[in-house]
Each structure stands twice: as structure tokens, then as C-alpha cells.
Amino acid sequence: MFLGIDIGSSSSKAVLLDEEKRVLAEEALNLGTGSNGISQVLEQVYSKTGRTPKDILYSVVTGYGRNVYKGADAQVTEISCHAKGVTHLFGEARTVIDIGGQDAKVIRLDGEGNVADFVMNDKCAAGTGRFLEVMARVLNCDIYRLSDLAAKSLRGTQISSVCTVFAEAEVISQLSLGSKVEDVAKGALQSVAKRVCGQARRIQVAPQVVMTGGVALIPEAVHMVEKELGEEIAVPGSPQTVGALGAALFAWEKYHR
């Protein structure tokens, strides 16, 4: 059995694979690096499968917490892991857009599961899940409800500030001037889409485009990216655990090498 662990900035994920690379269990919890999220997630995948850590032949850890987690056999970056996971799920994929808690990455694949090129946002939180969390807080709703709100909007509010902190102030100001909550929600999702697509264009987007990470769980966010990019986007059944899946696939490969 092979274990892939992804300790992100705002969530922890784990995937267990069998010898035939079939997923035995996959779990995600919104507790990231620095928390006990990973212990809880591991407990969940073990209890779900009735296995124990002794059954693990090889494990790989990825994500921002990969350097501090000492329980894995190897560590690989999440860029390589997302590329690996997506290629396993979508053989024709050539572009991966992964929007996580604190960063957004666009990865170009070479057709054989390898990373041909990649771009990331800098340390600014614009265009990331954190930006949407801040917007959701201002709108007093859950981040996933942004999608429902945005779907009701006919015209999104323009959010001109790139910086998350300034954008928060801008949104508060717009709400006080009478902007509708639905329009602001749509504006927030549009802002993320524009930012990420701007990044994506730097490395030449090619179909099939696959979106991973927590933000891919927000249907309207995916829709906005599709619209902005002019490409249809595929979303895995469990977009949050694709990095952990890639890590588990690396574990399988490293064990059999």
C-alpha cells in the first residue's frame, strides 16, 4: 500500500493506493500546516481501510508542510505531484490550474506526465483561495456559498485592487454604497479568474485544461476561469486530493524503481 500526503497552507490531504494504483481512500480536512490536520486525515484513511501505518510500503509527502513532516520516505513538490495526479486521471491533460489556499499555480504538461513549464503567483495572496476567504468573510458567508451568490448576479462588481487587503477595503466601501452581495461575490470570483488566467497565458495554455485545488470545488469559480480562458475545464471528482494522489503515485514509482 502506498501513501501520498499533501500538507497545504490551509488543508491537509491523504490518499492511499493499492498495488494496482487504485485509490483505497482519500481524505481532505481544512486544517493546514502547523495544525494536527494531517494526523486527523491519516487516522481517517486508516480507519476507512482498516489498515495501519505498518501496511505502508512507501510514502511521499508534498505541500508547504513537506519539509517539517518527518514521517514520509521522500518529499516532492506539489507542482510535480499535481502534474502526476492529473496525468493519471486525465491522460490528455496539457494544462493544470491549481488554486490552493495561499498560491495559484499553472502547470504545462508535456504529454507524458512531466512538467514542461510552470508559473506561480508571488507571495501576494491575490488570485488565491485566501483572497476568496477574505471576500467571503466580508460578505458574511461560507467560501463555497460564493458560488450560489455569484450565480444569481447579472453583473459582477469590478474589484480593481490587486492586493487582498486593499480589495477588502474596496469591497466594504462598495457594499456601503449599495452594491449587491451577489454582484460582489461574482466580482470576487472574476478577480481570481482574471488573475490566474493572466498567469496562465505566460506559459501558453493548451487543452485539455484541468483545475485542481480547493477553489475547483466552487463551480462558479471554475466557470469564470473557463470564460476568461476561453477553454473548457475538466474538474476531478476530488480536486483537493489530486496533489496527494500524485504523491502516492510517486511513492508507488519510487518503491518499484
Binding site: Y64, N67, V76, T77, E78, I79, S80, D103, N114, V115, A116, F118, M120, D122, K123
Partner: protein, 375 residues
């Protein structure tokens, strides 16, 4: 055989505590010290005046005071220099020399007196063109600088002293060129961090003494068998890579810096001077001959081909464009050489960072991925 390990340790200690190293040298030699702001300054003239030139390449400081005089879209190196000046770290300096290679440096030169540092400024304006008139202008600018230096310090710079100083600096540059070439053969001893520390120590020492020590390291290492290591070889390009967190990432990923095009490192010594002329003429001509530097206008745009050659000649796995955040000169060069490197099939990673790195997670992600996909 020289004890090269002890010499490396000595230079690393200088690099880890520059203020102490400068103070010690001032005490030992009885000389004053003058700070030299990047990227190029006429250090030979300062040295000939019997004064220790000290490189002011910013550092890992919390920038607070400098924000009152420089906007935060000025690069972090320049802001750090002003911060150190304003908080008194540079108090031992008789003056600072500030050249004019970018708008932020010009602003630093103009605003420095308003920072209450108590340290006078000697500005110097290098020409941007390479035409004969620019060569003549630079000689006159050096002479003007020399006059102001003499007036400020009350010391006369003789032609003889200047020739001697120039010879010491040429020997230093030649030795550095030899040193950086041997890194690929000794990747364990000269890992990315140690290599940088050794080169950086030169800014805080008498160049004659430094060169002797560097020569000792070279000779000591040459007597050792070449080192084997599974390594990822890179060429670094940009202004500098000097944050310990940054260097740790390179070391942890087994990255060897087989060559560099950094303003803080090889750009200082990669161009040898010509043999003919007076010391000032040779200094001016050396500047005219400098190629592939973002800070000096160059219609031929030779940087791309230069990086391609550096990568191929040193069997590098890739080039890291170490972009200093808000460095316009470097930003403008990047799209030009990126296209050339891509065409030549040279792997290139662009990473942007401030000099002061607080959270290295994203930086590490980029660099580690670059190694993973190109190993």
C-alpha cells in the same frame, strides 16, 4: 600546502560579521573606510588614497527608517543600504560613494543627506554609452571623483599609488575568475553557500590580503582530488543571491553554482583590463569593455548569448534568473534573454525575491520543482 579549510572558515567568518571585519581591518592598518554602493565604483582610487573601500550590498535588515525617504517600489538592496545608514550601522565610514546606475540609486544619492546619517555622499555618474566620448567622459569623472575624495579626506592620490592599487585590483579580479572556475570540481567544499561567502568576504577586506587568502584556498583545493557529488549545476544571473534562506535552498537541493552573472559576484571581476594606458584609462576602458550587464546600456544585447555560452561551457543543467524585486534594469533584460535561452534549449527558471527573505516556502517550491523537472 595551505590550510585551505582554515582560510575558508576565516573568509566565512568575515562574511558573517562584516562590521567586525571592517573595524578590525581599520584598526590593523590605521586606515579609514569608505562605503561603496553597488554596482560599480572606482575602488582603486579609494584604495590608492590609503582608504579601505567597503562594499555596501544591503543585508538582512528590517526596513523601517528608510521608508521615510524611499518608496517601497525601490529595490530592497538600496532600501537596506539607507536603513543601515540611518540606524548607524555605517557609522565607521568616512563617506559613501553612490553611483547612478538606476533611478533608485539616483534617488538614494539625492536623499541620503536627508537621512541624518552623518556620512557625506560622493556621487559618481557613469556613462551609459560605449562611444569614445563616453570613455573620455568617464576618465574626467574619475578625475573629478579623485579631486573630491582628496578634498574630503585630505589625502593626495599619487599616480604611483594609483598604478599600484590598480595592479592589486587586477590581481584580485584574476584570482576570482580562477576561483569560480574550479567550483564545479569541488562541489562539496564549494557548495553554493560557501562559494558565495568566500566571494562576498572580499567586500570587507583589504583586496591584497583577500587575494592572498583566496589564492591559498585555490592552491589548497587544487592539491585535493576532485569531488564527486550528484549535483544539479546552474548559472545564476541577476543582482545577487545572498540571503541565507535562499542559499540554503540551493544547498539542500544539491545545486552547484558552476558560473554566475550576478552583479555582486562575477560582474565585478569577469572583464579583465587592457594592458595599455594609465590606471584611470585602464579603469575606464574596463568599464567600456563590460558586456552583458543590465545596468549598462548595450545595443548589441549580448547577455542572452553570454548566458547560453556560460551554460554550455560549464555543462549547466539550467539558468536561474534571480530577479531582485523592483529592479527595473533586470526586468527589462529578462524577456530578451528568455527568448534567446528558450530558442537555444537552455532551461531557465525565473524567481523574484526581495533581498530580505522572511518566508522561503514559495521560493523553495519553484527551485525544487526546477530541479525535479530538469534533473
Amino acid at each position: 600546502m595551505s590550510d585551505y579549510r582554515a582560510l575558508i572558515q576565516e573568509l566565512e567568518a568575515v562574511c558573517s560579521n562584516p562590521a567586525a571585519a571592517v573595524a578590525e581591518e581599520m584598526k590593523r592598518s590605521g586606515r579609514r573606510a569608505i562605503g561603496c554602493v553597488p554596482a560599480y565604483t572606482p575602488d582603486e582610487i579609494i584604495y590608492a588614497a590609503g582608504i579601505l573601500p567597503v562594499g555596501l550590498w544591503g543585508g538582512q535588515t528590517d526596513i523601517k527608517l528608510a521608508d521615510s525617504l524611499l518608496q517601497n517600489f525601490c529595490c530592497s538592496l538600496i532600501r537596506a543600504d539607507l536603513e543601515y545608514g540611518m540606524k548607524g550601522t555605517y557609522q565607521m565610514l568616512t563617506a559613501v560613494v553612490i553611483p547612478n546606475f538606476c533611478d533608485s540609486l539616483k534617488a538614494l544619492c539625492k536623499n541620503w543627506p536627508y537621512g541624518d546619517t552623518g556620512i557625506p555622499v560622493l556621487g559618481i555618474a557613469y556613462p551609459q554609452n560605449r562611444i569614445p566620448a563616453a570613455f573620455q567622459y568617464l576618465i574626467s569623472e574619475f578625475q573629478f571623483f579623485q579631486e573630491r575624495l582628496e578634498k574630503l579626506t585630505g589625502t593626495k592620490v599619487t599616480d604611483e599609488a594609483l598604478e599600484g592599487s590598480f595592479g592589486i585590483y587586477e590581481e584580485y579580479r584574476k584570482t576570482c575568475r580562477e576561483f569560480v572556475k574550479m567550483v564545479a570540481d569541488y562541489p562539496v567544499t564549494l557548495n553554493a553557500k560557501t562559494r558565495h561567502h568566500i566571494l562576498k568576504a572580499a567586500y570587507f577586506m583589504d583586496k591584497k590580503i583577500y587575494t592572498e587568502k583566496l589564492r591559498g584556498i585555490i592552491e589548497g583545493l587544487k592539491a585535493q582530488p576532485k569531488e564527486e557529488m550528484e549535483q544539479f549545476k546552474v548559472v545564476l544571473s541577476g543582482i545577487l543571491v545572498d540571503a541565507e534562506a535562499y542559499l540554503d535552498i540551493l544547498v539542500n537541493n544539491h545545486i552547484t553554482v558552476v558560473a554566475d552573472d550576478l552583479a555582486q559576484e562575477s560582474r565585478q571581476f569577469r572583464t579583465p583590463a587592457r594592458a595599455e594606458g594609465t590606471a584611470l584609462e585602464k579603469m575606464a576602458q574596463r568599464y567600456m569593455d563590460q558586456r552583458g550587464c543590465s545596468l549598462i546600456y548595450e545595443p548589441e544585447k549580448s547577455r542572452g548569448q553570454m548566458l547560453i555560452n556560460m551554460a554550455k561551457d560549464n555543462d549547466a543543467d539550467g539558468v536561474i534568473a534571480a530577479q531582485m524585486k523592483f529592479c527595473e534594469a533586470e526586468e527589462y533584460d529578462y524577456p530578451i534573454y528568455r527568448k534567446e535561452l528558450q530558442k537555444a534549449g537552455v532551461k531557465l527558471l525565473y524567481v523574484e525575491a526581495d533581498q530580505q527573505i522572511e518566508a522561503a516556502g514559495q521560493l523553495e517550491n519553484r527551485i525544487q520543482t526546477f530541479v525535479e523537472i530538469n534533473r
